[in-house]
């Protein structure tokens, strides 16, 4: 199965029962932000999307209208028509701050537990299964992160690397899980909301991870990834704690 099918399965998967228009807008916007969907990509036909999201056609059209207004997609009429990705939206730091404030520390910890489970399982398998070509590709992705310019470019490169580790593990489910976890977190992790996320440490971690994978040392690889995920979650918790000073309420039950 090609990566694009996986991206489709991830981006257009059935929705939880929340406000669905907002959820579709958020899903597609994040996918474009993180580079899972590229400018020029054609979205599936409306009916097909409505079906895979599990919503009525009208709900989907409302979501697409919002995305058009935001300049994320455009709809062209005619034989070669359809809905196309226009450009990557920038999620404002204020929106990301709000999103982080809405998540409790207990939830961030739980996110970290799941991420750690998924990521360590992926690298253990990747240490056994990754091909030389895939390892070269991962090395290239680390270089891309090292050269990335700005938080969004870093978020994309980092996210790409982590997802492709799961791809190298040959597990469709772990890849989907990693994509969902990146979806939830990558932009927030890299946005300079309080203290910036230290790119050099991440590059070092990824570099030593690729070395461990090349050495087929699954235990070493697992340790590197576990501490990397822990550092990421601590970064989010510390960021949240720094930001929260601003909006404490009276705290009554």
């Amino acid at each position: 199965m090609g990566a694009s099918n996986l991206v489709e399965a991830h981006v257009y998967r059935a929705l939880p029962d929340v406000v669905r228009v907002d959820a579709i807008v958020h899903r597609i916007r994040t996918a474009v932000s993180l580079g899972l969907l590229h400018p020029g990509d054609k979205l599936p036909p409306e009916l097909e999307m409505a079906e895979s999201f599990g919503v009525a056609a009208a709900t989907l059209r409302d979501a697409l209208a919002t995305l058009r207004e935001e300049g994320v997609v455009e709809t062209r009429r005619g034989r070669s028509g359809g809905t196309f990705v226009l450009s990557a939206p920038l999620t404002g730091d204020d929106v990301l701050t709000e999103r982080l404030q809405a998540i409790s520390i207990a939830e961030l910890r739980d996110f970290g537990d799941e991420h750690s489970a998924v990521a360590t399982a992926s690298v253990r398998l990747a240490a056994d299964r990754a091909s030389e070509a895939e390892l070269d590709r991962l090395e290239h992705l680390v270089e891309r992160l090292a050269a990335a310019d700005g938080p969004l470019a870093c978020a994309r490169a980092d996210c790409r690397f982590r997802i492709e580790v799961a791809v190298a593990a040959q597990s469709r489910r772990l890849t989907l899980a990693e994509m969902r976890l990146q979806d939830e977190s990558a932009e927030m992790v890299w946005a300079p909301l309080a203290t910036p996320y230290d790119r050099d440490s991440v590059v070092r971690e990824h570099t030593s991870l690729v070395e461990a994978l090349r050495a087929r040392d699954s235990t070493l690889a697992e340790g590197i990834v576990r501490s990397s995920v822990r550092r990421t979650v601590y970064h989010l918790i510390d960021t949240k704690l720094t930001l929260s000073y601003a909006d404490d309420d009276d705290g009554a039950v």
Binding site: S104, I105, A106, D110, V233, D238, L241, S244, D248, V253
Partner: protein, 240 residues
Amino acid sequence: MTKSERLSAAADVIATRIHDIYDELGPLADDAARILEPTVHPGERIDIISRERVLELRDISEAVLERRPRLLGAGVIFSVDRIRPGTRLIEWWQRDGHGHVSPVLFEHQPESFNYYEFERLPWFTIASETGGPGFAGPYIDWTGVDDYILTFTMPLFLHGEFSGVVGADITVSSIERTVLPLLRDVPGDAAFVNPEGRVIVGNSSRFVAGDVLRTLPMGTEVVSIPSPAAGLHLVTVDRQ
């Protein structure tokens, strides 16, 4: 203020917040007894509760949720050996994300995969064994309300006989919003912990909800939180 004074001050405010919850549960137990006692003969089991009385139980439970907007749910849970077979064991109401309150249905068939075996849970056993306030959490209330919560209970006595509990839940995320501002005033890394030493809320990534503090570093200060829920503590230690 010295560090110890700040710690005690935070513990006192947290104690007040917990008292606020138990101050709702005492009257809730009294009201539930007043509603149910006329239908139960002393020494006999509780028969199927009429719709009318269920609505009365709903009203008193909803009133608690209205007065305390951070609580997730509230209601009455009967002791299995105090009711007749076929009577619903749990009358519980919970608010959803939009603030709308609705009843929660539980699985009571022991052979069912989702069977809710509440009589083994500490919020029930503490109240039934001591006849006093019960507390549990943080825990994932799997097959219950399926959230990460704390539960507070008071025993329900009908004609002087233990017949179940009344209780209220709060999510760990909500209690965090209540307690975190207080922990900021404590110097160093501080945590609000339950009787088994499990972190409920911490003020740094060193103490996160769900972790168990098995060994405390040298110099850790501990104060107990004076509240009906026995064994709650605040701990603090200098930042590393």
